[in-house]
Amino acid sequence: MKRSLRSWLWRVPIDQEIDEELALHIEMRTRELIDRGMDPHEARESAISRLGDVRRLKREMAGLGRKRDREMRLTLWLEELRDDVKFAFRQLKNSPAFTLVAVLTLALGIGANSAIFALVDATLLRPLPYGQPDRLVTIWETSDATARGFASPSNMVDWKARNRSFESIAAFTPGVGSMVVSGRDGNAETVSRQWVTAGIFDVLGVKPVAGRTFLPEDEQQMARRVVISEGYWETRFNRDPSVVGSDIKMDGRLYTVVGVAPKEFEILGRTSMWAMQPFPRNLPPRARAAYQLQVVGRMKPGVAIQAAQSDLAAVAAGLATEYPEFNKGRTVTLEPMHDTMIGSDLKVTSMLFVGVVGFVLLICCANVANLLLARATARGRELAVRSALGAGRRRIIRQLLTESVVLSLIGGVLGVGVGAAILQVTPVLIPEGLLPATVTLAFDLRVVGFCAIAALIVGVVFGIAPAFQATAVSSTEAMGADTRTTTGGGGRIRGWLVVGEVAMAVLLLFGAGLLLRTLLAVQSYDRGYRAESVLTMLVDPLNSSYPTPARLQQFFDQVEAEVRAVPGVADVGWSSALPLGESLYGDFALTYEMVGDPPVEEARKPTTDYQVVSATYFSTLELPIVAGRGFDARDTKDSPRVCIVNEAFSRSLGGRNPIGMQVSFRVAGSPTDKPNVGEIVGVARQVKRRPDEPRDFVQIYVPMAHDLSDDVLMLVRSKTGRADALTPAVRAAISRIDKEQLVSVASVTTLEDVEWKATGRQRFRAVMVTAFAVLAVLLAMVGVFGILAYSVQQRMRDFGVRRALGATTNDVLRLVVGDAVRVIVTGAAIGLVLSALSGRLIVTLLFGVQPLDLTTFAMVTIVVAITAALSIAGPAWRAAHVDPAVVLRSK
């Protein structure tokens, strides 16, 4: 090291170095030759010529010299770095309290950010796990009613045949349904199943892990074929290769297993198998109005999405003129498949978290910067000595920055641990369905890399101000000065840092407040029914075992009677859907019109939700019938069609009494379907379908006897206590009726759990943001405490003098608290203004609360006031108890 340093200090420009060296050589050689008796002129010529081509020589030496210098600079730099790092470690070891606080603060900040980075990385940043994913687009069928609607099979088939931009097009049903598999051992089992078209695996470019995927021949033969998922293959068949090619009986029909699809295919839906839905060219006309498919296309290489869009739009326009009765006003919209899979809710949630943890990290930086500033003041003399000994300002700044980067790297290492810990906990919180099916959060090398980069940047960010601040004082000033009297610039920066911290903490608190109010709003609305103590389960008999509706009805009646006899059971009901839960029919809507009203154009008809329930459904849920009657024994298979509507439906009639009116309804967008007509016999209390639905939804209940389906949800209300305690008894009761075990019982849960799940997203956001906001407030208050404690420490003597001169405790307190209050009030005011400006950004995540919610403003102010008071109390107490005699006597 000494070598490089010395040669470095004496370095002259390389060309000059070479010129001088060669000139000396030539001169000495000339002298030598003259001494030997050569003529001076000739001697010089000879000396030069002995060097050969001097210009080439110089060029060669210059090249070597430059390389040498570059390497020496690097070596020197590395050596300085090593010294700085060593020195930094020594410094940190000498002040363990400072180091501990700073490192922990940084670890929290970096850890929180790394966990959120893992979430964002897994969802937003990574491409879909398919080959050339940027060529994959979702093709939505759009109309006036929906901007992102599902497509009908006939339209999909025609798009595929007529476009010029796509390699291929395929589709799947958006929902995952279930089928009953009769196992070889005779036991029935409900497995999840998703319908797909034959080409879906080819469009996505997914290769099977065993067997094959669907072939065009499968589609032409209208064969019943399934591809099972790798997970199901593993858990159910223990990866037995002989499953491929075998038949399994599902819903009473035989399906051939043709292959096994790898895990990444499950991104379409978390399911055990994909069953092929064949769509031959000659579909019945009404298939053009069955909007049920989510369509995916793989664009040809080099085709831009806009070009594909206009190509397909032209095809759709052609279809609209060809089939006006179905396709008038319908066109297509293309969207990158990645966007479809991620969903706007996840995107907004991720960005919200990124913003929140970003602020937390800034607060951490501000806190550590504050600590460093305080230390820099204390180290003023040390730095002054170093500078007097010849270290330049740049050199000292570099050394101080090295210290802060070392600090933040230690914080980053611990942050990796904190982040891993957060990721251990969060999966429990993440609501079902927010992440695409196969996305799992992993703490991988990318996250570690993120931590490293974050730590480096953070180290420079919080280190730069203190470093410049520390070196701003001239050395004579600092060395001559008494350490007690350093205030000025450093103090001002520190004040503003704390103002910034308080402002950011207030902003986060405010966001957390809004999200908590949203959570409260979705949890504490008037449900209309009593959710406590209700057990639900899916009862799904094989349709071959109960071939007729009468047999099926008989089975359900027997089960109901048997379960009702179970001790502790208060009531038993049946339904096709659960409040706040999923409907077995999926999310399609029905259009309706009142019989006798003037006819309305199909596209403008109002829509309603459709639910099939037993007579006992209302009593089981304690859902009141507010007018007319509920269903009862009069409503049998052969009785006149009746229905019950909800309050929103009733209100839509404009004050007319619904009881006795006839309503006609059918599946939306299928004008050829024969409509159902029924008499409204009652009005039920309004219930929610989604916890955060913007308006009350319209609903029609139909008696189970009129629309019997072979999978039904059973609801059991217990007399007292927890409903899930009844589970074994109820299951036993069912198997007493279903002696041959041909009925599958699945999805056993309680209504309270269904509700808990339904509000999962709101809870996830509220919990996460609140946790980070609390952290932010704590950190900010540590910041307030820090500068206050420091300034009290610095001014003890001042206070002592004041007390000695007759100032009261109150006078001193006013001095101390006044400063702190100024900082906090300024910060809080800025924070509240920022909150008011930025509340709009999360308006899509809010429900039941406005972005400018006054209650939240008030709560935030109160929280800040209380925590501020706590952080001020200690230093203030200390200042108030100054003993003039003690302080003045000490130096």
Binding site: R3, R6, S7, W10, V12, E17, E20, E21, L22, L24, H25, E27, M28, R29, E32, R50, L51, G52, D53, L57, E60, M61, L64, G65, K67, R68, E71
Partner: protein, 113 residues
């Protein structure tokens, strides 16, 4: 470009480095002095091509075997003096050992009877 008659004592590849290191082992000196010392010691039996001496010195400096500093020449002028480093000394010993083995081997063949 060289014929045996003209440069009967052309240096074997790598030997120049060893000679320079050996020269500097006596003490720091500038480039001309190195050249002179080699010429004088070998009695002009080995011709040091001056065009390759300086690049060799720079290469050795870059490898850390010699280091350079500004000193004063016999003429009272500023001169760049080269000095052997610790690493250079080790390298010199290694080269000497290699050379000894090499020349012993070659001699054995050439002077065998």
């Amino acid at each position: 470009m060289t014929t045996p008659s003209k440069t009967p004592n052309a240096l074997l590849h790598g030997a120049l480095d060893a000679l320079i290191l050996k020269t500097l082992a006596r003490g720091p000196s500038h480039g001309y002095a190195v050249a002179r010392f080699i010429e004088d010691t070998t009695g002009d039996a080995v011709l040091v091509e001056e065009g390759s001496l300086y690049p060799a010195l720079y290469r050795l400096e870059r490898r850390g075997w010699v280091e350079a500093e500004w000193g004063t020449s016999e003429l009272g002028r500023r001169a760049k003096l080269y000095r052997l480093t610790g690493a250079g000394r080790t390298q010199l010993e290694a080269e000497m050992a290699t050379w000894r083995r090499f020349s012993a081997g070659v001699s054995k063949v050439l002077f065998s009877t």
